[in-house]
């Protein structure tokens, strides 16, 4: 992408942090430290990297898009799943709003107006990432969320794959573990390390026969393709992954089991993905033909 944008590299930050720690130790001891006896054999990856402004911070929702028309989601930036692999096999990927993105339908009968444009607009497949956990939802029967403004909101993070092509991009297991649920449009994975349930919605059906409840999966194993399915008979949403991390939490000293804020975990996992695959960062030009987004035809 652009050379005008400052580069960001978390490995560089890590090296700086470790160097600082070593210096601090030296001061305490009052002696010159020995050179590192076991230098890291891997060279630090400096380039290519993500643009400096590639991700908005956790809890910073689109202006006015919380259920109370605020813009605050969960601002606690803690990474709930630091052991997680990014859920797409390949980048680039774009975490952002579907209903308030280009081509989205808006929400609440005009209370949150539709933005216009179309699903495959380039703006939807570009940085910066945007947290949409706690994004506006108003039906208390369908979107209870104790962590969101007004007790209501979106329970996960929406992520677009590299392009709007339907049933092309692979979802992979975020951790070693077992399949814990297979629905008509969803697959859940129980993570053996974390004990979390990773929930993936809008998957293509029918799923491969080896994805069944109780089956073991390994981190990075393909489990389904990302699609635009809302149910077995509806393709009314955009091509995207709705990603949730479910687990038990302590909130204000109280136990509750449900969706945890996934955004910062996805940020970390995405940086791991691009560090290993530096060629998978840059946005792909959108297809000129909008029907690309909805192929193949039903089923």
């Amino acid at each position: 992408m652009s050379q005008l944008l400052a580069r960001f590299d978390k490995n560089w930050i890590g090296v700086a942090a470790i160097a600082f720690m070593l210096a601090a130790c030296a001061d305490d001891a009052g002696v010159t430290p020995d050179p590192d006896p076991d230098p890291d054999p891997d060279p630090v990856v400096v380039d290519p990297a993500l643009p400096a402004d590639w991700q908005n911070p956790p809890g910073d929702l689109l202006a006015g898009s919380s259920t109370t028309h605020g813009s605050t989601g969960v601002t606690d930036a803690s990474v709930v799943a630091p052991f997680m692999r990014f859920p797409f096999e390949e980048g680039p990927a774009f975490a952002n709003s579907q209903i308030f993105g280009q081509g989205g339908g808006g929400y609440g009968g005009g209370a949150w107006p539709a933005p216009g444009g179309s699903e495959n607009d380039a703006a939807n497949f570009d940085y910066a990432w945007r947290d949409n956990f706690c994004e506006a939802r108003t039906n208390p029967a369908k979107h209870t969320n104790a962590l969101c403004d007004g007790g209501l909101g979106h329970n996960g993070q929406d992520i677009r794959p590299a392009t709007c092509e339907n049933a092309v991009h692979w979802l992979v297991a975020p951790e070693d573990g077992h399949i814990s649920w297979v629905g008509s449009i969803s697959v859940n994975v129980f993570g053996a390390e974390s004990g979390y349930i990773y929930k993936h919605l809008h998957m293509q059906t029918p799923l491969p026969g080896w994805v069944e409840v109780g089956a073991p999966v390994t981190k990075g194993q393909r489990i389904a393709r990302v699609s635009d399915r809302l149910s077995s008979s509806s393709r009314a949403t955009t091509v995207h992954l709705h990603f949730e991390i479910h687990g038990s939490a302590e909130i204000d000293g109280v136990m509750r089991t449900g969706p945890l804020p996934p955004y910062s975990s996805l940020v970390e996992a995405y940086m791991d993905l691009v560090a290993d695959n530096p060629d998978q960062i840059d946005p792909v030009a959108p297809p000129a033909d909008i029907t690309k987004c909805t192929e193949p035809q039903w089923p």
């Binding site: 601002t75 709930v80 630091p82 104790a146 573990g177 814990s180 979390y196 409840v213 204000d252 509750r256």
Partner: protein, 430 residues
């Protein structure tokens, strides 16, 4: 409004369960004193029925012996607690009445004796309806179409509903009819040892003709009455709770994969996770109480996860046989199972991820928190020191297509049927 509704439900659940709470607490007090260790004799076995089953063979129904049969309604209300809905009648199936107008029987005799009960879809609607004044747990019968082509495919659909009309049991029996049978070859049964069914419906469909409901006969209707005391110690312990589940004595744990070096590479800090302390004394009391009640989990897949679990597992006592699959690690588990044809998940964990909510969010204010989504309804609660979530999955993952999946009372009824299971690792009280 959401909070108000939740409180109301918790109150009604507590009111429903209150006599049992007293009993379960009393049982826990006596057993804790006498048996200090977890009971290793707890095995997976079917619960015992509270009463002997009754069989209705339709032989003693009195009335004029006409071609239309004898209308069946409340003849077995006093003796068996069952009333039949419209369209049911008793017919003679003996050869001596082989005038076609005198009998609907397609075989020369009833499954037993000389009489069977017929259901006419024209006068009674598609399904034979049986309403029970005393709930039944298992219903079985012989079933037979009044005729058919040789080898023709039929499906018998049995459905069971609880007192509030929620479907709790379902069976489909597919068979091919043949006239070359000496007696009725097809049996169908519905329910499970812990089910509480107040209404049972029976329907016979003709597969080749658009699954159209057709006239049929039943005989040897066998009833197993539901146990009187249907509420598990787990449900009683949940119903006792007043406020939100507070975290006590949890210790911070370090994830294996987050060493100091890795942490230094992160833009955002790793979340703090805590491991809760399990109240093993309360678990042991529940194990003893449920054993006295002959309450046990239905058999499941995933024994190795149960053996390694360092938390008490909650599992259903009335899941459909073979439908429960467990996955897990020592601190957390997930079970999926079916009751009444509906799929549920039950997640439990003693690992808590610490999350700070923003100031405008309500947090958790009740003992049981219900959360609905387009795909499911979940009840989150805590018992014995661990956190659990029971989820009912909507058919086709769409509450729009399956509005019943958001019925909170139906989910509470499943919670009322949970039992505690402790594996080898759990017996060491980790």
């Amino acid at each position: 409004m959401g909070q108000f509704r939740t409180k109301q439900l918790v109150l009604s659940l507590a009111a429903l369960l209150s006599p049992v709470v007293v009993m379960a607490v009393a049982a826990a007090q006596t057993t804790t004193a006498s048996t200090p260790a977890l009971n290793p004799a707890l095995t997976l076995s079917a619960a015992q029925p509270a009463q002997e089953p009754g069989v209705i063979d339709f032989e003693n129904v009195q009335g004029p012996q006409l071609g239309a049969g004898i209308e069946l309604s409340d003849q077995y209300a006093a003796s068996h607690g069952v009333r039949f809905g419209r369209g049911a009648s008793v017919h003679f199936c003996a050869r001596v009445f082989d005038d076609v107008n005198a009998s609907l029987c397609s075989y020369p005799q009833a499954a037993s004796g000389r009489r069977a009960a017929a259901h006419d879809v024209r006068s009674g609607g598609p399904a034979m309806v049986m309403d029970f004044s005393k709930p039944v747990s298992v219903v079985a019968m012989r079933i037979n179409p009044t005729g058919g082509a040789e080898g023709e495919a039929f499906v018998a659909e049995l459905r069971g509903f609880d007192a509030s009309g929620v479907q709790r049991a379902q069976t489909d029996v597919r068979f091919n009819w043949s006239k070359d049978a000496f007696t009725w070859p097809t049996s169908a049964s519905l329910g499970a040892a812990r089910a509480q069914l107040s209404r049972v419906t029976v329907l016979l469909r003709r597969t080749a003709q658009n699954n159209q409901p057709v006239r049929f006969l039943i005989d040897d209707l066998s009833l197993q009455y539901a146990p009187d005391n249907a509420v598990s110690p787990v449900a009683a312990a949940i119903a006792e709770q007043k406020g939100p589940p507070r975290v006590r004595d949890a210790a911070v744990v370090q994830s294996k994969e987050i060493g100091a070096a890795q942490a230094a590479l992160r833009v955002y800090p790793a979340a703090v996770r805590k491991r809760t302390v399990i109240d093993w004394d309360a678990v042991e009391a529940a194990l003893n109480a449920q054993q006295e009640m002959a309450l046990a989990a239905t058999p499941y897949n995933g024994e190795r996860f149960v053996a390694a679990a360092e938390l008490p597992l909650l599992l259903p006592a009335s899941a459909e046989p073979g439908s429960t699959t467990i996955v897990g690690n020592p601190d957390s588990y997930n079970a999926t199972f079916k009751v009444g044809g509906v799929t549920y998940s039950l997640y439990g964990s003693r690992l808590l991820t610490v999350i700070a909510k923003n100031g405008d969010a309500p947090g958790v204010n009740d003992a049981v928190t219900f959360a609905g989504t387009e795909q499911a309804l979940t009840a989150s609660f805590s018992v014995y020191g661990a956190a659990y979530a029971l989820t009912r999955h909507c058919a086709d993952e769409s509450v729009t297509a399956d509005p019943a999946c958001h019925d909170r009372d139906a989910l509470a009824a499943i919670a009322g049927d949970l039992v505690v299971v402790v594996g080898d690792a759990g017996r060491a009280r980790p």
